[in-house]
């Protein structure tokens, strides 16, 4: 159950090419689970022409402390809305809705888990790793980005994970290549039971494939563009196969953002597969 609260900015600090925003969010830390996200309004309606909220996966929570409950969000300065957020200062007020979306499903038993993050898709993974470690799970982390500056969470991952594998496209840090070039090796070495992933769609598709080949379960958190974040606008849909074998266009904000890797039709994202429930019939044929 999400809440809408007014939060005060505690700090905005740089982390590579990203900014980590810590903001008070009364009631949210107690409700938030790894994989949940929060949305922030950009300015107020009288002065801002940016109507849509921005969505960020929750990087961490502190339920107590001198500020009361706070949440951490990782922001990539990628446009006027996110830029405005990076310019906030201590004491500025933000309109927050959180926690939103379905969190990562956690294993009941102390199994071996690999967490894969692409760019700032790594944001929810430390939060997730903490929960997995509490359950006695082994945690290995694979983080990748195009270049060192675009990696996120490397130090935090090293503190909590059994092994951390870093990849960059340009070789500026860690191995040269993609996270998916090294994932199978990590799975084999760690005898992984579950893969958790968050990052761009192409990376998630490849992660889901590798997990399927290895015969293990994958949980993928998608980054779809959203207008409302609460399930009413129907803009963030993607084709997902249900328990009944039928493909439906599901909302990544409420039915996701975490999906089972083997349920998403990755190759068909951005389209309506012809066998989707309610898909338009080809020209000239009756429904």
């Amino acid at each position: 159950m999400p809440v809408q609260v007014r939060g005060e900015v505690v700090s905005v600090r740089r982390a590579g090419q990203y900014h980590v925003l810590t903001v008070t969010a009364p009631g949210v830390p107690e409700l938030a689970r790894p994989g949940n996200f929060a949305t922030l309004a950009i300015g107020d309606l009288d002065s801002s022409g940016l109507l849509l909220r921005r969505a960020f996966s929750i990087h961490g929570v502190q339920s107590r402390g001198i500020y009361g409950g706070t949440i951490d969000l990782v922001i990539a300065d990628a446009g006027p809305g996110t830029h405005w957020l990076t310019q906030r200062r201590r004491g500025d007020v933000l309109d927050i809705v959180a926690p939103l979306g379905r969190p990562f499903a956690l294993p009941r038993d102390p199994v071996s888990c690999v967490l894969v993050g692409g760019g700032y898709g790594a944001a929810p993974l430390v939060f997730l790793a903490e929960h997995l470690r509490e359950r006695g799970c082994r945690v290995d982390v694979v983080l990748g980005a195009s270049t060192e500056e675009k990696l996120f969470g490397v130090l935090e991952a090293k503190r909590i994970a059994s092994t951390v594998t870093i990849t960059t496209d340009d070789g500026s840090l860690g191995e040269t290549g993609l996270v998916t070039d090294h994932l199978r090796g990590v799975i084999d070495r760690a005898a992984t039971d579950v893969v958790y992933a968050c990052g761009p769609m192409g990376m998630l598709a490849a992660v889901a494939d590798i997990a399927a080949e290895a015969g293990i379960h994958s949980q993928c958190a998608v980054e779809e563009s959203m207008a409302c974040g609460i399930g009413v606008c129907m803009t963030c849909v993607l084709p997902v196969i249900g328990e009944d074998g039928i493909t439906r266009m599901l909302r990544s904000c409420v039915e996701g953002p975490v999906f089972r890797g083997d349920r998403v039709r990755w190759q068909d994202v951005g389209t309506i597969p012809p066998d989707t429930l309610g898909a338009p019939m080809p020209e000239g044929r009756d429904r």
């Binding site: 022409g49 909220r53 563009s225 609460i230 009413v232 606008c233 309506i272 989707t276």
Partner: protein, 343 residues
């Protein structure tokens, strides 16, 4: 169910003494603020943020006869003070809607205006008949801004004859006690002509306006931003167009119930529509900014109208159409021309 604590509300603490009730044909509502079709799903999500039984009614997302996948993504682009969307009426079909969505709304105790859409006049009529058989809702809104399969995909709302055919068919297929509202498109040469045609065809009232057609091109990909190429523009950017449409239709049809909508953010925006001639307003796209907006708009509208001296909101309907106020008398202009006493 526990309700989210909304600490966001900017509503004044004191409840102003004003009667906010309104009428949409045969149906009386305690509040003139409704949700807008397509911006509230079937109420359940928004009920986490405010009590959906406290507003006038929930206007549900347009429902069609069969389940519908909608269009490919991207379906949305943000625009200055607005957004462009091309969802393609994704929905579960009328039967699943009745079983899951309408049943929940009734159990919750919300007043419901069901929005219906179709590709043919027959589809509209068929949905209306299924709804008549089922009952359990308060009013119908007919979304005639959808493509007419028989007319090369031209939307019904663009022509008086096709709009009237749909409205006539739905009116005949619907229980006479249920008001039928036609939702009009602003993308026409003369909205008064279409409004008149819908009323003559049996509509009890009109909803003004649907989105206006727009387009965004992504300068990075150098392709249209939406998979559907064009989309409907909504949000504060279109509010002056919507207020103009309400004003023009009110001029043509002085006594017909009107629901005004298009870019309402706050109570003042809603009040503009009331003054232009709307008996009620729908709050749509702003919900994507502030999910508790409908309840907030109600509170702000009540405060503002009371501050303007109204004790019944319905007295403010069309108030901007009155003759210009007489110029203030000379003695009220701030200058006292009489000689001071000590002279």
């Amino acid at each position: 169910m526990t309700r989210a604590v909304v600490r966001h509300s900017t509503a004044a603490a004191a409840v102003p003494a004003i009667d906010m009730s309104t009428r949409l044909g045969s149906v009386g509502l305690p509040s003139p603020v409704l949700t807008a079709s397509g911006c509230a799903a079937a109420g359940r999500e928004l009920d986490q943020f405010f009590d959906i039984t406290s507003i006038g009614a929930v206007v549900t997302k347009s429902i069609m006869l069969e389940p519908r996948s909608g269009r490919a993504t991207p379906r949305m682009a943000e625009t200055p003070s607005g957004m462009l969307n091309s969802i393609g009426l994704q929905g579960p079909g009328i039967h699943a809607f009745l079983e899951k969505d309408l049943a929940w709304l009734r159990e919750r105790g919300a007043r419901v205006m069901v929005s219906i859409a179709g590709g043919t006049t027959q589809e509209f009529e068929e949905i209306a008949k299924i709804l008549r058989e089922h009952g359990g809702f308060d009013a119908l809104e007919v979304n005639i801004s959808c493509p007419n399969v028989a007319d090369r995909g031209q939307v019904f709302a663009c022509r008086a004859d096709s709009a009237a055919a749909v409205i006539g068919g739905v009116r005949r297929s619907t229980d006479p006690s249920i008001p039928v509202f036609a939702k009009l498109s602003p993308d026409v040469t003369d909205i008064g002509t279409i409004a008149l045609a819908c009323i003559r065809a049996g509509a009890d009232g009109l909803s003004l306006i649907n989105t206006t057609l727009g387009m965004v091109i992504d300068v990075d990909t150098m392709r249209p931003a939406l998979a559907g190429v064009t989309g409907g523009l909504s949000g504060p950017a279109i509010r002056p167009i919507a207020v103009r449409c309400v004003w023009q239709v009110r001029d043509v049809l002085p006594d017909v119930p009107l629901i005004g909508m298009g870019g309402i953010r706050n109570g003042a925006d809603a009040f503009e529509f009331i003054l232009a001639g709307a008996d009620a307003v729908s709050v749509g796209t702003v919900v994507f900014h502030d999910p508790s907006a409908p309840a907030r708009v109600h509170a702000e509208l009540a405060t503002l109208a009371a501050q303007r001296g109204f004790t019944r909101l319905r007295d403010a309907v069309s108030y901007a159409h009155r003759e210009a106020d007489p110029p203030p008398a000379d003695t009220d202009d701030g200058y006292d021309l009489s000689l001071p006493e000590w002279v």
